[in-house]
Assembly symmetry: none
Homo-oligomer: 188 residues x 4
DNA sequence: CATGAATGAGCCTTCATTCAT
DNA sequence: CATGAATGAAGGCTCATTCAT
């Protein structure tokens, strides 16, 4: 019965990823169903399997997509900056700005790790570690040149990331008080 | 047919709540099953319904139990303190200490709100609001007496709670660096 | 909601096995569906899983049931007979009579081995080997006492079984010519 | 989207039939899938429909191919022989030799009749009946000339065919004991 | 001819829930 | 109170088949 309105060949996968992210954000991975997903995309349930291998595969796709975009954007943000303090400042700026703009992705990535099967869990954790390594490298370089007085670069890195992520949970650029916070921060 | 090892009359409900918390923490509300729960408690699936009305009812129970304990403990922590600055300090101390000790409950309560049906969602939100009101009251009192220079007590309260909750996501009393953080904080 | 006409507790499993055998015989293991099975038993599809673990488990049950009944009946048929020639005659009588009476079971057991998963396949083959060993033992004993002049007991056993099974594929006690065959055979 | 390695124009249908026979033999008609078939042939699933009309059509093709080859080979084997006893001997020789060499086809044709839809079932049965008629004719001729003392040619024919088919289920020319059987038989 | 993507029906299985015993 | 067996709904996934490109 051929192709129907609402399906556009190669763009279908993109639509699946988009709708998938929404649904996982809204209902959780276990809570969403592929029937919902298909309905949002505008295709029948079975057709999803022309684009993903399984429901789990969709989650993996979401993870990988997020992490790879994140890593690429970070590299772009740090590009050309040489001295560690500036790199650190750029890292912090980037991290908060990027994560605050993508609350859905961040929430999904943080709360659905438990739904990844062992193999995929490992792969996802590896990607995250690559991101952490960027910060560790900055801290190590600054420590080596004597600019940063830190005892242990990895431990410090985890501390910084934890605190920054904490910010992302409560900072909402559209909230009433965001303006005042922003003013204080940028007046450094 | 008769009672089995593992079920001890009145203690069964407590076991269900305990195991239920573990499972929701581990797999999420949608991800856990009543089969698993019954297995951990040591009874059959149908027997659960002698103690809970439904799966949703279990989640509600978990929420209520957590919030009521929290409110009671807060009242105990604030009891007898009169001046707002001391109350605020006590609130902060209490909040962090309490939440850091109950990461499982906190995680569940924060991430499974979406799984509460509308009515229960409202009830849970109401309980949380009671907690927030305690802080708002402290801030208002301090503002009224001129000790705190804040523009808007509720907004400030949400900001403080968000930041404190942020801490709870990364602070781990058993982590390598916890000692040094703790030293800095208590030496105020 | 509660128990319905057509389901009688402990007898349900027996009904499942009966209907299951019919269906596998009629449509093959892959060709039958659990919907059909449930319909024939008079319960809903999901209720089957209170009695079997899976569709595969049903097939395994059918195999085991057949083989264990067969082994027990064989032992009963050979009981008390001492001399190998008489044992052999009893074995042949038994084998043909038993298999001709259970064409459905025999067909299923012979044609659905390929649908058994590796582990179950092995288990089924082991049971069959037990049956063969009974015949091998008879032949060996007869050979040892000099009554049978055979070069290799196992090989002879497989030959005999193959030929007897061949008979079961075409001999039909209800067919037009069965009477004359029977007359010839019993006139030995 | 041109043509791919593995598909060679006109030879594709032959490859489909070959692979189809293998798969039906291995998994049964219901158990095999067109995905597997396409994979073995080296084309995509949809491309199969350039060569077969449906899955059922493949099975019909397999049946027809087997039966027509069989009938032609039988006619060749019987060609020129005039006297019924010699014809009967030739028929038996041919039947066993041919079927023993094509165990896969024979198994499929015997065990998948139930998967043929009514119309095709009839057609297949008709072809088989043509084969049987050859034997019936031989028996009738022999009976008419007084060489064979048989009461009913068709019934005798079915009996002979059943027994010969029985042989084909256990006789394996590559088995350890085949040599001795063969010696006995040919020394008639 | 081959392909990729779509379809709808159906499959096995699991789930939360109920209730007679 | 606990149990075993039942229920209906749903879930993820596969299948044969179609057709525009």
């Amino acid at each position: 019965m051929g192709r129907t309105v609402g399906s556009m060949g190669a763009k279908t996968m993109e639509a699946i990823a988009q709708a998938g992210l929404d649904l996982v954000y809204q209902f959780g991975y276990e809570g969403m169903t592929l029937r919902q997903l298909a309905a949002r995309v505008g295709i029948r349930q079975g057709s999803l399997y022309n684009h993903i291998k399984s429901k789990q595969d969709l989650l993996v796709h979401l993870y990988r997509r997020h992490m790879e975009t994140l890593l690429a954007a970070l590299d772009a943000a740090l590009g050309g900056i040489e001295c560690p303090p500036e790199q650190l400042r750029a890292f912090v700026d980037f991290h908060v700005a990027y994560h605050v703009e993508r609350k859905r992705e961040v929430f999904v990535v943080n709360s659905e790790l438990r739904s990844l099967e062992p193999t995929n869990h490992t792969a996802a954790t590896d990607l995250r570690r690559q991101y952490e390594r960027r910060l560790i490298a900055i801290l190590s370089a600054g420590s080596a040149e004597g600019t940063f007085a830190i005892a242990d670069a990895p431990v410090t890195a985890y501390g910084i990331l934890g605190m920054l992520s904490g910010i992302c949970t409560w900072y909402d650029p559209k909230a009433a008080w965001a303006a005042s916070i922003s003013r204080q921060y940028t007046s450094r």
